[in-house]
């Protein structure tokens, strides 16, 4: 069994993947040592599978089968195709930071036009600048541990490291755009965002494919610190190619009296997992985390969130919705941990699934781990088809069947999108949802 774990199903030792990549991974000394240890950990564990509780509904061993070799650094042709994909997003007025096949592309980014108080460096640049324990820590994850987090630490080729100075409130959203241009290859990035005390930031992440990029894999991570009294409005729009795979880990640490409003929309990818680990580390912080999975055909989307109430007097709200057609499979796992000291915690979680076909599947696993005694926590879930009486009402008013369905689906999704407080960010999410609706025949 141990031998099987160390090999991909095709029998190729996974070590070759790392050996082939090592030459181009930035960092020496402690950084290289950390990568080696992380890779050894991945090789020992192998891809997560259904017997690992956290991955019960998303069996990467069966569904991903193996990790594709890293895509080469983008050449001019790849950058040109990526530029086109960025343009086709139709999102204007943001400070774009573009990563192409896992490599930061300053020539496609608004690095010269960053607002005051926003500092951006490429992770690669920092890791190549010298090597010490502090730099190795950029690749380290302490709040969670699994094979995919280790794989990301081992292989991360680049990423953006963003620092927002105390008290500033940039007017334009910071916008990280991931573009895949190569087929059947993988990319791994790690980005870090530090929001200093009292700063207010809007962050958008877009994940898209250049035209023709197919069956690629993305193994990303993002680590975000939100300082005391700071506020982050975060929207992630996953619009990868429909046959791609995307495994992303997001780690948030929220300071005292800080606010985090984070929203994820997944309508791309044949196989995706977005796992978020949020620690409410300072008293009086407020979390709102919401998401929508819009999936058709035989696509699989997993959203897994662990919210850790580590201190007293914090509130968390989680609302997740999925709209499923064909044989699509949506997974939502939400765990709320309330530490012994975290009295007066107020944590709630709600999931709703709209099933448009008999063969679609929605799995929902809420977990409450409460160690304090003076808390308010709850969770709820619903699943159902479109309401026939609403459909008839709309049709009796002249809407053809497809239009009536589309209006009700948009309304269902819209209730989740309404959680995005910023008008601008909300419009981006509405547009992404409309792109999905337009793909339904």
């Amino acid at each position: 069994m141990n031998v099987a774990l160390a090999k991909s199903p095709t029998g190729q030792p996974v070590g070759e993947l790392f050996a082939a990549a090592r030459g181009r991974l930035p960092g020496t000394g402690p950084v290289a040592e950390l990568r080696q240890a992380a890779f050894d950990d991945f090789a020992r564990r192998g891809l997560p599978h259904r017997r690992i509780e956290e991955w019960k509904y998303t069996d990467l061993r069966a569904q991903l089968r193996e990790v594709a070799p890293l895509a080469p650094a983008p050449d001019q042709a790849a950058l040109t195709r990526a530029a086109k994909a960025v343009k086709s997003l139709g999102i204007e007025g943001t400070q774009k930071l573009v990563l192409v096949d896992g490599v930061f592309a300053p020539q496609l980014s608004d690095v010269a036009a960053l607002e005051a108080g926003v500092q951006v460096r490429a992770l690669r640049e920092i890791l190549e600048d010298g090597s010490n324990q502090v730099r190795a820590d950029l690749l380290r994850t302490t709040v969670a541990s699994d094979a995919m987090i280790s794989l990301n630490a081992a292989l991360a080729t680049d990423g953006v490291v963003i620092d927002v100075a105390a008290g500033v409130a940039p007017t334009k959203p910071v916008h990280i755009v991931h573009v895949a241009t190569r087929s059947a290859q993988s990319a791994a990035t790690r980005s870090l965002v530090k929001i200093e005390k009292g700063a207010r930031v809007h962050l958008v992440e877009s994940l898209v494919a250049a035209e023709g990029a197919r069956t690629y894999q993305t193994h990303d991570s993002i680590v975000i610190w939100i300082g005391d009294d700071a506020e982050l409005q975060h929207v992630r729009l996953m619009e990868d190619a429909l046959d791609a795979a995307n495994i992303t880990t997001a780690i948030f640490t929220v300071g005292a009296n800080a606010k985090l409003n984070t929203f994820n929309l997944t309508h791309g990818g044949a196989l995706s997992r977005y796992q978020g680990f949020i620690t409410l580390a300072g008293q009086g912080s407020e979390l709102s985390t919401n998401g929508v999975n819009l999936l058709g055909a035989a696509r699989h989307g997993d959203t897994t969130f662990v919210v850790d109430h580590a201190v007293p007097n914090c509130t968390s709200r989680e609302v997740f919705r999925s709209v499923l057609d064909g044989r699509a499979h949506s997974v939502f796992q939400g765990r709320i941990i309330v530490r012994p000291d975290a009295q007066k915690t107020d944590g709630k979680m709600m999931t709703r699934a709209l099933l448009l076909s008999d063969e679609a599947e929605a799995d929902n696993k809420p977990e409450l781990e409460i160690f304090a005694d003076d808390v308010t926590c709850g969770h709820g879930a619903t699943a159902g088809a479109l309401d026939e009486s609403l459909l008839f009402y709309l049709r009796a008013r002249g809407l053809p069947e497809k239009e009536a369905q589309a209006l009700l689906i948009a309304a269902f999704v819209g209730e989740a999108i309404e959680s995005i407080a910023d008008d601008n960010l909300r419009d981006f999410a509405v547009a992404a949802a409309e792109r999905w609706l337009a793909t339904r025949d």
Binding site: L390, Y393, R395, A396, R397, P400, A411, F412
Partner: protein, 252 residues
């Protein structure tokens, strides 16, 4: 002249249970018909079948609208042709703003008829005018369709749609249910404003009260799935005195 609506020998069943047993009804343009009858006589079933609600099986007879076979059409086609059912219990649609709904529906109907879409300023102006005449506040139009509306507001929203869509046949299913007298008067005034020589109305009601406000040209009494008596507006008053029992016995 072709009748606007012609129902001939209509037989309808729901899950093997026959509800309408060969119903006849002819409504001409310009007329207002009232259909009265006790609970369970099949009044609402008739309105649902005319509008095309799923779940009813027509086992005999036909419904012609302007001479065309209505039963062959989808509900949205019927709406585009000019059939409008004012629901007894209008549904709430969270997340769909009333204004969006009204515009989408009107443009869908116009598109189906091969007409151009309304421009937004014209549309907004029209909606505001009609809403004002029905005492519908502007902020209600921004809310989800019927979400948080009172019974009276829901019915006025139905009348608002009628005024916007300008259908040639309006079927009002128990419009008075759940309304106090003031709310009823506002809704009825809205309906009366829509009376015209090109339009017919079928007012379905259990009580005579509504007919004080919407005065019919013809009154039909339904019992056990058939029209058992038709007459002028005085028939409604007669029913108010004597009740439905006489007809129930007769139909049996």
């Amino acid at each position: 002249m072709t009748a606007l609506l012609e129902v001939k020998g209509l037989k309808v069943q729901v899950e093997d249970n026959e509800i309408l047993h060969g119903l006849d009804l002819t409504v001409n343009a310009g007329e207002v018909h009232a259909i009265m009858g006790p609970n369970g006589s099949g009044k609402s079933t008739l309105s649902h079948v005319i509008a095309g609600k799923p779940g009813y099986e027509v086992t005999g007879g036909e419904i012609l609208f302007k001479g065309e076979d209505l039963l062959e059409m989808d509900p949205d086609e019927r709406a585009a042709k000019g059939v409008f059912l004012a629901f007894q219990y209008p549904v709430e649609i969270p997340g769909v703003a009333t204004m969006t709904f009204l515009r989408t529906a009107l443009n869908a109907q116009r598109k189906a008829r091969g007409e151009s879409e309304y421009s937004t300023p014209d549309f907004l102006k029209k909606v505001r005018e009609v809403a004002a005449s029905l005492n519908i506040p502007q902020d209600m139009l921004k809310r989800g369709v019927n979400v948080g509306f009172s019974g009276g507001e829901k019915k006025r929203n139905e009348v608002l749609q009628m005024a916007l869509f300008q259908p040639s046949l309006c079927i009002l299913d128990e419009m008075d249910s759940g309304l106090d007298i003031d709310a009823l008067r506002v809704a009825a005034d809205g309906v009366n404003a829509l009376r015209s020589k090109d339009r017919a109305m079928v007012v379905i009601t259990h009580y005579q009260r509504l007919l004080n406000y919407i005065v019919p040209d013809v009154v039909h009494v339904m019992s056990k799935g058939r029209v058992v008596k038709s007459g002028g507006k005085e028939l409604a008053l007669e029913l108010e005195k004597s009740g439905y029992a006489q007809f129930e016995n007769k139909a049996a």
